[in-house]
Amino acid sequence: MTFMSRRSLLTGLAATAGGLLTGCDKLAQSEDFRKALFSAENVHRWTQRALTDRQALAQEFTPDQMSPYFRPNGTRNPGTAEYTAISANNFADWRLKVTGLVNRPLSLSLPQIKALPHREQITRHDCVEGWSAIGKWRGVPLRTILDGAQLKTSAKYLVFHCADTNGGARPYYESIDMVDAFHPQTILAFALNDKPLFVANGAPLRLRVERHLGYKHAKYLIGIEAVDNLAGIHGGKGGYWEDVAGYQWYAGI
């Protein structure tokens, strides 16, 4: 039997772990390796969409299954001069602009949006950090707005522009493709747990795209832009966190 002291075993293991880590961190700086690693996101998206029902609905819950308190996250208040002025006026001057590859650009006020048919859903919000909260959302199906704007067939993505700069100079934004845009649970929500959205939760209007992690659910919406590719939008990766930190654009994983 080979004799090995506990100390040398531990030192050996720690050195191996340390060496492995340094190696991995170095590897992750190589552009080719990053590309290969990041391409796993596409494999997940293809596999999920190939093997499962693209129209599958996220689970909906009953009122007794809801979180006692729905935790706000990310920006709690955009705090910009424009947003402060608009919120002080109870969003009377707020407009949602629908632009880009549409035949009929729109500029909608909050009362106009609230006058459209609603959908209510009690769903689970999953943050990329790992926590989940269940809340009741009320809003207008995105499909209704897209039909009103007469989306062109060349449109491949919808970009959601936000009033929020996440504390820096870059505005928050997100994007989804048409599979999620026309999904029945994809709504523009104006109420959470039977109350108009609080500022912390994205007042006056936020996206709910229930088969994705929380960062896709853009808050403080001011515009929806239909585009045929994402390369020209801000950092080009389709979203604030995708540009800034390398999060997956497909957040269904």
Partner: protein
Amino acid sequence: MSHEDRIAAGSLVKRHRLSTRIWHWVNAIAIATLFMSGLGIFNAHPRLYWGNYGANFDTPWLELDRFPGWITLPGSYSLSMSRQWHLAYALIFAFALLVYMIWSLINRHISRDLAFRREELEPRHIWQDIKDHARLRFPTGAAALRYNVLQKASYIGVIFILIPGIIFTGLAMSPGMDAAWPWLTQIFGGRQSARSIHFIFAFALIGFFLVHILMVLLAGPINEVRSMITGWYRVPPERRTGEHGQ
């Protein structure tokens, strides 16, 4: 007399199949990467809950400090990079298991080497194997070529329970898969329960890994590692009877 009983001590024999060797080393890399990047992901919210939901204002069953940088991937906190590593290697890990299971059914590795034989499951036999392990008496001669009953139980547990459990609880945390397969999330008792089970199973797998490394060290690391790389294993010599019960 079986073929194995005629194998002379000290001779080199082919012990591990190519499929087992490939899968073993793929797993060694994948599990190290997944465990360390998984701890990096856990650090983003180091609290675990039971049920469908769980966030800062709910009561966790476990709350830890962040794991230190020497054991996480990357070494400094980055949730996005930990996720990139984790989600890439998760694919390798899951599909490697699928291929290995199919391959092992076809080449009869499962039925020949892993399945329990009736006599092995007798309490007397199991107790003998426990005693042998406790005394660190490893099988010699031809007996060393077969898995013993505790070894089989741990391999079966890892291949058919632990690793599939880790894969499926991982899938149950994906919001896309939750919509597609809501039953999967419900089997585990909700998304936060799935996350807790994923964490527990990951540490159980690391427990297996530590015992596995210890057993390799005790049984003769050079011979064991060589057999897992080349397939060739040197049969350990029989103990002389005088050594019994030392």
